[in-house]
Symmetry: C2
Subunit: 332 residues, 2 copies
């Protein structure tokens, strides 16, 4: 294992120290491992809190800032943050309008966010949770009952963040968040495994001539292993299950998101986007917006995922609204 | 070699097709392999043209847009574009105020851009070239006489782009560009090699327990190979030669840029940024701005580079000016 780290046990805290140094516009609570908006809590605005295991950067800490999250809790690599962290984040961003918890559907995250919500309620903070479960690959998985939450989480954090920034009430922000999860679907694949620093060994073995279709963002098994295939076939293996799961024709078009798993260069992601766009065109799905790049990653895993989200007038407007975070920024 | 590609010979053109699909605000000339600003040529504005071998994305095509480049020419992977491409880009962005060529110091690029400038002059377009050579690692290299052009190129494209956007004359934009190159220095390192698709084999061999200090962005040899080391020692091996080459104390602070080579996750890049920031603080160098992420890459190579740039009031203002490109965006 060669990595740009010091002691494996310090990876997360040292990366957060670097984030704090690089982003003075954020406030990083190093002992609690929480990334806050610099001006949190914003009075009268619904607060958005997310979090999860580290190793998926820029998600979630890189999505903190005006127009997106108010705080993100960082767990150890691929390990849920603890309820106390989530509680501190929730209380810290409550500007009097309540707090939305954005939770990816993994057993540990769901359980800990539930506990944090109860603790916050006891302190008088209203919390509404929304759980993402957009991964069509598998029904249950290594760390999940039901579908896993993956790429839609990124889009949801942007869209619900924009709704909160407009001054909407907690129920309205939560409605946007649930709609995004309900109308978004994802599927991923891996060319290689990744290595969790504290483990020191690849999470799984993948022969040089095979790829894993439907892989999870922690290297959880997918649907099947197939021989390494050209990008256009890989694109079909990702897009077809998504289109089979939900009708993406009609509507005001889709947001097409080709995500890098961490180790795959942008050159290949754009090439994949071209293949995905071709399939969508042939399938009568109109693309209204796109996003290409590594946004929800699995350390240095090579591979990609595809996420489609049905858009409507309101979601389009919320997508285009200004956002200012380390990982996603426009308009400001 | 496992990659998200189809036929290796089609990688660049298929990636450009994907870019065209993902970025309708750009105009991609697929036969000529040029990425243009959608509104090029901009009347009365100095045009900025860069380009080089592919495989360094988002540089250069991802830096095309208002506030940065007007056009970028894509060569084959790690291979210079040809003079005819550069000529078409130059003529295509000339809004009557002349064109700046931003050229990384590699023999093929320098020669071809020189030829293109002569051809453009024959067509009545005034061209001023600026060559970047900020890499302190080695004096001459596999593809270079003199120092190589690396990370400063990204910063220069932003800063000169902002100067052009303000309506300055060609000589004034070129002066900004030269100043950036003169006051910026870089050094890179690799944990792993990368594989050029058409070669199918890693560019170089690097044992599991060694790293290459001073590596070039095409995998050219660096200063030395050393045993794999903790991030804080790697940071010293990169920052010390930079500080030994140019005085970065005083001035209005520096822009500190920790760049990912392509295969290294953001978690590690932020950790490295923390180490770099510590060294700079101890060395009396004040950081005024920072940039962390994969901006000038070498396919899927794991590793990073550090670039420091001396800032002054004017460069600070130009850095903060709005920019709207796929790879770098703020303010619009």
């Amino acid at each position: 294992m060669k990595k740009l780290i010091n002691d494996p046990v310090d990876v997360v805290s040292e990366a957060l120290r670097g984030m704090a140094a690089a982003h003075p516009e954020l406030r990083v609570d190093l002992p609690e491992r929480i990334v806050f908006r610099g001006d949190a809590p914003v009075r009268g605005k619904v607060g958005l809190v997310s979090g999860g295991g580290s190793g998926h950067e820029p998600m979630h800490g890189g999505f903190v800032g005006p127009g997106m999250l108010d705080a993100a809790c960082a767990g150890e690599v691929f390990t849920s943050p603890v309820p106390d962290q989530m509680l501190a984040a929730t209380v810290g961003v409550d500007g009097g309008a309540g707090v939305l918890h954005i939770v990816k559907n993994y057993t540990g995250d769901v359980m800990n966010f539930e506990m944090a919500a109860e603790l916050a309620a006891a302190e008088g903070v209203e919390v509404v949770p929304v759980v993402t479960n957009d991964d069509v690959a598998v029904q249950d998985s290594l760390y999940t009952a039901g579908r896993r939450g993956v790429g839609v989480t990124v889009l949801l954090e942007k869209l619900a963040g924009a709704a909160a920034e407009e001054g909407r009430h907690l129920a309205a922000v939560a409605e946007v968040a649930r709609r995004v999860n309900e109308t978004g679907r994802s599927m991923g694949m891996a060319l290689t495994s990744c290595t969790v620093p504290s483990a020191g060994q690849p999470t799984f073995d993948l022969p040089e001539d095979e790829i894993e279709i439907g892989v999870g963002i922690h290297g959880e098994p997918g649907r099947r292993r197939v021989p390494a295939a050209p990008a256009r076939e890989v694109a079909e293996m990702l897009v077809e299950p998504i289109l089979a799961d939900l009708d993406f024709t009609g509507s005001d078009g889709v947001l097409a998101f080709v995500n890098g798993m961490g180790g795959t260069p942008l050159l290949e992601l754009y090439l994949m986007y071209g293949e995905v766009a071709s399939i969508l065109e042939k399938s009568g799905v109109r693309v209204a917006r796109s996003l290409v790049g590594p946004y929800i990653t699995s350390l240095e895993m090579a591979g990609c995922s595809v996420t489609l989200l049905r858009l409507d007038d309101e979601l389009l407007r919320l997508w285009d609204a200004p956002v200012r975070t380390p990982g996603l920024r426009w308009g400001v």
